[in-house]
């Protein structure tokens, strides 16, 4: 149903916390997402003309890179973006068929590929570009938060996290229950001032981004003296007097 219960206080809100300070922009999360989900809940992740001039395909996770600020105060920030599993998902509200839905038990937003008519309205309603249309299958696709991993008892417990989280070499991605203030991810958000994207849209995203830490503007230690030696006070003297100064200074 496209009408959904807004999460009650304390309800489970599974989501991601992405650390923009440590993300190195390697795209491994996007690649592993593609790999896992090519056989996962919303498989296939269709590629059209993959080796041709106009390669196109469905991805659930895209890594943008931004520059913010000017000069020495500027930062280059790698910025992974996938579905934010909003608490008020307009993509679900606008769906005319009920194919898009938000799970009450954990807040994950999913698409039922058997009832999706491919009208694309949900992708228009999403301000974040989290949904991508599969032109080959004629249905909308999106991040499932790896619903087929996180509850999968055939996997070792440490692997029961989204593929993007499991693969991140910089540990910039964290998965957990953001509805529980005592969870590791909630504490991380609290400690680092995690924030939501485009709050003015009013969709109340669950995922949080951790801002880059304040940059170090001072030059680090290179083993050299921090300052150049001052010019000798005798620089303007007659060469004979300079020689005498040198001799007497020994």
């Amino acid at each position: 149903m496209t009408s959904y219960a807004e999460p009650a206080a304390g309800a489970k809100k599974l989501g991601l916390v992405i650390d923009l300070d440590t993300c190195v922009g390697c795209h491994a999360c996007a690649v592993n997402c593609k790999e896992w989900n090519s056989g996962g809940h919303s498989a296939p992740m269709t590629d059209l003309d993959p080796y041709g001039a106009n390669a196109d395909g469905v991805w659930f996770n895209r890594i943008h890179t931004f520059e913010a600020g000017e000069g020495p105060d500027s930062r280059t920030v790698h910025f992974p973006k996938s579905c934010l599993h909003c608490e008020k998902p307009a993509c679900v509200e606008v769906c005319p068929t009920g194919a898009s839905y938000k799970r009450e038990e954990d807040g994950i937003v999913l698409v039922n590929a058997d009832t999706c008519i491919g009208c694309k309205l949900c992708s228009w309603a999403c301000p974040y570009g989290a949904r991508e249309f599969d032109a080959d299958e004629g249905v909308m696709k999106k991040c499932t938060l790896c619903i087929d991993r996180i509850y999968n008892e055939n996997l070792a417990p440490e692997e029961r996290v989204p593929a993007c989280v499991s693969t991140c070499p910089a540990s910039a991605r964290h998965f957990g229950d953001l509805g529980d203030p005592q969870s590791d991810v909630s504490k991380l958000v609290e400690a680092r001032g995690g924030y939501a994207l485009m709050p003015e849209m009013g969709y109340a995203p669950v995922n949080r981004y951790l801002p880059p830490r304040a940059g170090k503007k001072a030059v680090g230690c290179t083993g050299a003296e921090a300052e150049l030696a001052k010019p000798a006070e005798t620089a303007g003297l007659h060469p004979l007097l300079r020689w005498m100064d040198k001799v007497l200074s020994r």
Partner: protein, 315 residues
């Protein structure tokens, strides 16, 4: 936003069809349209063809048209679903009105009531269509108060222009129909100009800074896109139109869609029969062509907030 031909045709054709049907229902109740059966058959027939062709066209852009019936289920939250329900419901009074008028030659009592009920449902359908766009927060050029009045007024104006041409062709010109048509065109033009003024002078509250949350560091700009080729998002939401082209197309829409049809409609009230037929017919055809340009612009000039992640500075 990508201007899909199927959706442009749908909104223009169905809008005109619903406008024509609504005016026939109202006009019949007020005794302003000829009651003869052939007139009913032709005018209601055209309205039905326009509505149906538009609705069928709208299913053409679906990934799974065979599942379109499922779109009737979520009317509690989805304006697209409400539009579908209203569109189908409108066929009931449309059928009753048409059968009563064109087959039994009866335009009174229950048949007239069916016409009025149909007018209300036609209004509701166009309203729901407009609300699909109006309700989308990520698109500033759609999420504003000028969209719904514009859609309603343009549906009414195009329907009125068709009705005016019909009564002229039937040799039964009615000053009231001409006046309604002229007023509807003026209202639609006013609504569209207010809309254009709005989108020219305002922009979305969302910026690259709010989209990334990095505004605290400074001005945010895209350094590197996530992919080298265009993806679905860029093809669907990244449509761009040069400002100079937009200005030309607006002039075309304004003149073909509103100004010339208005002049021809007024002229037709004063001209003798054959010339009035030509003037009112040309007015209707031009108006529909102008609205197609206007609708193309409605999509092409709409900017989606997702483009803030792809280098757009405003949305």
């Amino acid at each position: 936003m990508h201007p899909a031909f199927s959706v442009i045709f749908f909104t223009v054709a169905s809008g005109a069809g619903y406008g024509l049907f609504a005016l026939l229902g109202l006009g019949n109740a007020l005794g302003l349209v000829p009651a003869d059966r052939v007139f009913g058959l032709c005018s209601l027939g055209l309205a039905t063809v326009l509505i149906t062709a538009g609705l069928l066209s709208s299913t053409a852009h679906l990934g799974h048209p065979e599942r379109a019936w499922r779109a009737l289920s979520q009317w509690r939250t989805s304006w697209l679903s409400r539009e579908g329900v209203a569109a189908l419901a409108t066929y009931v009074p449309l059928g009753a009105f048409g059968i009563g008028w064109a087959i039994f030659g009866n335009v009174d009592g229950p048949v007239a009531i069916a016409g009025l009920l149909g007018a209300a449902l036609a209004f509701a359908t166009v309203y729901a269509t407009a609300m699909i766009y109006r309700s989308l927060k990520p698109i500033h050029q759609w999420h504003n108060r000028f969209v719904v009045p514009g859609y309603l007024a343009m549906a009414l104006a195009s329907g009125a222009a068709l009705l005016n041409a019909f009564v002229q062709i039937w040799g039964r010109p009615q000053l009231a129909v001409g006046v309604v048509c002229a007023v509807a065109i003026v209202v639609a033009m006013f609504a569209k100009q207010r809309y254009w003024h709005f989108i020219d002078t305002t922009k979305s509250a969302s910026t690259p800074e709010t989209a990334t949350g990095l505004g605290g560091i400074g001005k945010v700009r895209l350094f590197e896109a996530p992919h080298t080729e265009e993806n679905y998002l860029l093809k669907e939401m990244g449509y761009k139109i040069a400002r100079k082209h937009a200005a030309k197309l607006r002039a075309i829409a304004l003149n073909a869609g509103f100004r010339i049809p208005l002049a021809l409609t007024l002229l037709a009230t004063a001209l003798p029969g054959p010339l009035a037929i030509v003037a009112s017919s040309v007015a209707a055809i031009l108006l529909l062509a102008g609205l197609a340009v206007e609708r193309w612009l409605f999509f092409a000039e709409a900017k989606h907030s997702v483009m803030l992640y792809y280098g757009a500075q405003t949305a």
